[in-house]
Amino acid sequence: MKREQLFTVIGEIDDRYIAEAFRYAPEAAAVPPERKANMKPKRILTLALAAALILALGVTAYASGWFGLSTRMIETEIPDFGSSTPDLTPAPGGFVASNGEADSPEAQASLAWAKAEERYRQADWDWKAVDAWTAQQEDPACEIYHCYNQEMLDTLHGIAEEYGLRLHSEVAYPMTQEQFKQVTGLGDFLRGEDNFWQGHYIFEDGSFKCEGELALEGGRLVFTLQRSRAGVLAPYGMYVRDPVSYDEWQISQDGHSLNLALRQNDTGFDGLIFVCEGEDFITLSYGAQFVPGTPAEFGREGAEAVAACFDFDALCGGAPDLDAVNGRKVAPVKPKEGLMSTADFAETPEYQAASRFHCAYNEYYDAQQTHEYFVKGQYMQEFYAPFPTGVEELDTLLQELQSQYALRVPTSAQAIFFGDWARPEWMTSLMSYRIPEGASNEDFHLREATDEETWELLGVENFLRSEESYLASAVAWDTGAWQALIVYGSTSYELCYVPKGSFCPTVRAFLHPGAESWAYETACGEQVSLTVDGEMEYPRFTTPLGLYETDTAYVLLQFPGMCSGADLQLFADNIDFTKFS
């Protein structure tokens, strides 16, 4: 098909979706944003099982102590986000603050800030100027409340003062569930082995936000969970469109009063659960869309099954300790005899050849980009396909490198790309997968890869120590070199296995090859060298690195962009280096 015709076809999609995408507003969407779409559940907590939990927990319905949608919502005009519902007529709605009833100072202030934010976000921002101003600010409220300039920050302080509230003063971003529990002092709050959650941020008073997925019969449901506390201007709330369309009722679960609200139509549903316990305000929002052609049933039973997945006892209380994340320090040890530093690695032929190719490939890639907003010099691209590249200047360089360093260059590769077997000759970089003209649909269709096949491809046993970690992608070359993309909690990083004497195209060039590294004893008992690679030199990013050496290979942990020394140690602890030979 002609590309121009295809572009025209896309131009004729439903107006609703064009308008909906005019401005990013996930809080106004009927369905919360999806997360972790590539997570593979091992077993499913069915709706039937969740219903059994309802009986086991002694859930009963009653109607007193109402803290539901009706009492939490402030009627207000919802900003023009566009609508994805069939009826485009503006509907009445309101704003729900995360930490107070409608008439509380917390709710009034939260709404005032939401309105102010909306006005500021409509402006055209010079993002470079915003970055420059933000970098100079010491007020933690600037980052927490996403203020772009002094006027915005002053407005925020003014609102807090007007309503007699304080602002959040510190935030931590836990990367793993384990960190989240350390920071919050909470235990497991989500029932069901295949229900997934990830903490996003937590504030100094114990307020936090996390998101996740529930595995229910017929599909997955995404949720957002917020716990907030009184006395503070909360940086997040939500708009609720057409509240009269919600069915509202109360139940009791584990001795807690739960206020439920559910709205459902032919295409899907979205629900809310409010719990107020002492100083803790808990708001759970969730939703899903029905798969076309499947029965559209959810109802109160489904909503109560969602509630039954959460242990609200475990969500209350706790003692926040942000130092558990923010206070982590680099922990160097005395290097064992013969431990290779990252600076020494930078002198090896394996690094010298690969880094020169990495730079050349990125310079070639940058030269192809002519858009005026493209920033050259970031050196973020990696070349994954086998050789030759088909680009004369790169293949000429490759021949020079082969001649100079006498390394084995890969001529074939196998790849598993986000859970499916991929055609490596169609992969140029991780972000690019180009299908040649004339390819058939059968060629395009990718076969799903099993976990066992992934480890077999790499020729190594599972080296991941945390259950929160998995391999998202893997590429293996015929030289024995391979690279895996590791997902760990909310972050990801690469592990390169480079047999000595081989050329691995995905070894990144350091910005500061002579940068100091430190020896670190990882959780598996093996020592590695770690380096943060020094200061960033805009637009070029640094390349933090973890280095482990065996008799026959180098094992590299590579991180796209800056990360702290404490984070490097956390990522290194996730690897069982004893698995590598």
Binding site: I13, D14, D15, Y17, I18, A21, D124, Q368, H371, S440
Partner: protein, 188 residues
């Protein structure tokens, strides 16, 4: 000053008041220029496209009474920009926009006879149905990338997200679209 409601702007067009263009530019001018700039690689061309867009809106409202107005205006801007782009010589081509077309072609590679207007409309309708099955975020990413032709880094800035994650999500969505269209019988 708060921008006018869409209905008020359309009323000005019906009154043939030149204030309609002023108000349209105030409310959607940035979006029009951004949409054009994502496709065209030249500031003068972007300005020209924006002006042509306003003229196009002036000439068609009335009798059109579009709801929502933003979709109507951005579609005109997009179509005019694409027309200007394809008319260019190779030296002024925009590789970033070419990348958008490349990605679309990846997920719909099989030849479909688009000479028949009916089949083109059927494909658009199918893609719209597909978009309805997506989460808000995936749909947002898709429409920003392939209707508005935003770069991945622009989308990341809009959503305060990471480019890497967005690229991955777009890739998976393109895969799903391909599968969806195959199951609908629209790809041979």
């Amino acid at each position: 000053m708060t921008p006018l409601e869409d209905s008020e702007i359309i009323a000005l067009f019906y009154e043939r008041s030149e204030q309609a263009i002023v108000e349209l530019n105030r409310k959607y001018g940035a979006a029009v220029k951004k949409t054009a700039a994502n496709i065209l690689n030249d500031r003068l061309d972007v300005e020209e496209c924006a002006n042509d867009t306003y003229l196009g809106v002036w000439n068609t409202i009335p009798p059109q009474n579009p709801k929502p107005l933003v979709s109507y205006v951005c579609r005109i801007a997009r179509n005019l920009a694409a027309k200007k782009y394809h008319a260019r010589r190779a030296a002024k081509r925009n590789s970033a926009f070419d990348a958008v077309l490349d990605e679309l072609e990846e997920c719909i590679p099989a030849p479909v006879n688009l000479e028949a207007e009916y089949e083109a409309k059927e494909l658009s309708a199918a893609i719209s149905r597909f978009l309805g099955t997506l989460s808000y975020e995936d749909r947002f990413f898709f429409v920003r990338r392939y209707f508005y032709a935003d770069s991945v880094s622009d989308i990341a800035a809009m959503t305060q997200g990471k480019s890497h994650r967005i690229s991955v999500r777009l890739f998976r969505t393109r895969e799903k679209l391909h599968q969806y269209l195959t199951e609908e019988g629209l790809l041979t």
